[in-house]
């Protein structure tokens, strides 16, 4: 095996170790936004954060989740996305 082959094999190993699972990334992101929306709603109810901030979080969540809808995703992921969007719309 030449040095070049060794480097290529090493890079492939690193890349495979860091394999990207897009579906999981999206599910994590949706779960993150759902929790954020719930946390901000709770803090808003306790008057710990102003309405102007809560609105920005909702807008950002809608923006971020809507971007995910432009990509092809599994049905379960899309349904979860719709639930997060519905939650955001309710808090608007």
């Amino acid at each position: 095996m030449t040095f070049r082959h060794g480097v290529a094999a090493g890079l492939l190993l690193i890349l495979s170790a860091c394999h990207r699972d897009e579906e999981k990334d999206t599910r994590d992101k949706l779960r993150s936004w759902r929790s954020t929306l719930e946390l901000v709603r709770l803090q808003r109810e306790q008057h710990n954060v102003p309405a102007v901030y809560a609105k920005q979080v909702v807008d950002q969540a809608i923006d971020d989740v809507s971007k995910e809808f432009k990509k092809p995703h599994e049905r379960a992921t899309r349904e979860e996305g719709e639930r997060v969007l519905a939650l955001a719309a309710k808090q608007r």
Partner: protein, 407 residues
């Protein structure tokens, strides 16, 4: 130590603590805590250790040789050798400055709802006015003393009662069970945000402006250890609060809007204003230091006159340089770039360029021609070389993986 010296030392340490946190350290520590709990505490610790040595060396060098770093590098190695690393440094400074201006805009946006794109130019103008009309010590002290509100993160971390055993485990480097690319990318971003070359250029230029001499060496050492050491506690505080508040809820910090609620569950009504205030003040202070540091860097590289404490028109090229840099950074922010992504990326890039900046610096602080008997010891040299090399090697691997979307 005289009473006046003690006062100066205390002020130096306080300003270092208050000026430690900025948009980079806040974003990287918070993201690290939210995604990996305490597992990246070691990155903050080792980077701070490297920074303490570098700050001490740059202050010592300026006090003994009466020269600022970039000035001496040009003099010792020549303009041709200097120009490439300096260009890289200026480019990275520009990105970081844009991120800092973005941080100030974001703090205002959180409170008012006004868009970042509309705020970037007015904030840049305010920054320019402060630098144009202010003096070095006024800028340094006022922003840093206001920046002490970042102690809120340490108070919040204390109130959250983190498990000490788990905390201690975080100081030992470990491999993550998943998300390796993100983990290493965050580790180098933390290193880049902590060991920012602009900090020691600013520090050494400030030491020359304030006419430090060999009598300043003790206070320089204490400021570096005390200021940076306690400053590091602020970053650790951010990481702990983020790990305790966000990690159990699976909130990953994808935007600053998510981050802004982090103190509220712990500090109640004080949480949100303290977060927005900390972000705004720290970013403004860091932006002022960055703009000045870039001005110093360019002026010293070309051998121009420089000095924040002189009248701007007397140092026209120096003043023009920082003015242009501020305008360019503001323009970058008006393009609508995601401030969080810009911050994390520019911090990781900082880690890549570290060897190009640090190696000539290390040679100088070990050159008796400049520092006489005050050359650096082997412990400092070794720590700096290891931290810088490890950070830049990891950065070279982690940045392409992160850009390729590794998880």
């Amino acid at each position: 130590m005289k009473k006046k010296d003690l006062m100066n030392l205390t002020l130096g340490i306080i300003t270092s603590i208050g000026g430690f946190l900025e948009v980079g350290s806040m974003a990287t520590a918070a993201t690290a805590g939210a995604l990996f709990g305490y597992k990246l505490l070691w990155a903050i610790f080792f980077s701070t250790l490297g920074l303490i040595f570098l700050i001490e060396m740059s202050g010592r060098f300026a006090a003994v040789s009466k020269r600022a770093l970039a000035d001496a590098v040009r003099e010792r190695f020549g303009f041709v050798f200097t120009i490439v690393p300096r260009l890289l440094e200026v480019l990275v400074n520009l990105l970081v400055l844009a991120a800092e201006i973005g941080g100030v805009c974001l703090a205002i946006k959180l409170v008012t709802g006004w868009p970042i794109v509309a705020l970037a130019i007015p904030i840049a103008l305010l920054l320019w006015l402060v630098i144009w009309f202010g003096t070095l010590s006024w800028i340094e002290n006022s922003t840093a003393i206001l920046g002490l509100m970042t102690i809120a993160f340490v108070v919040a971390a204390w109130k959250l009662h983190p498990d000490p055993h788990e905390l201690l485990r975080g100081f030992v480097p470990s491999r993550p069970s998943e998300g390796a690319a993100k983990y290493w990318f965050l580790a180098v971003s933390i290193a880049g945000s902590t060991i920012s070359p602009y900090m020691f250029h600013f520090y050494s230029s400030g030491a020359v402006e304030e006419k430090w001499d060999e009598e300043s060496l003790t206070s320089n050492r204490l400021t570096a250890i005390g200021g940076m050491g306690f400053g590091c506690l602020m970053s650790i505080g951010v990481l702990i609060v983020s790990a305790r508040v966000f990690l159990p809820l699976h909130i990953q910090v994808d935007s600053y809007e998510q981050l802004a609620v982090v103190l509220s569950p712990v500090l109640g009504r004080w949480g949100f204003p303290l977060f927005a205030g900390s972000l705004g003040v720290c970013c403004f202070g860091a932006a002022a230091e960055l703009a000045l540091s870039t001005g110093y860097l360019i002026a010293q590289t070309f051998g121009w006159n420089w000095g924040e404490d002189r009248r701007p028109l007397e140092e026209a090229r120096f003043s023009a340089t920082y003015s242009i840099v501020i305008v360019l950074a503001a323009v970058i922010m008006t393009t609508g770039l995601d401030p969080l992504k810009l911050t994390l990326f520019s911090m990781a890039l900082t880690a890549v360029i570290l060897p190009a900046v640090i190696v000539p610096f290390l040679l100088l602080v070990n050159d008796e021609h400049y520092v006489g008997k005050h050359v650096s010891g082997w412990i400092g040299n070794t720590v700096v070389v290891i931290v810088v090399l490890v950070a830049s090697v990891i950065a070279l691997v982690a940045i392409p993986l992160e850009l390729a979307g590794g998880s």
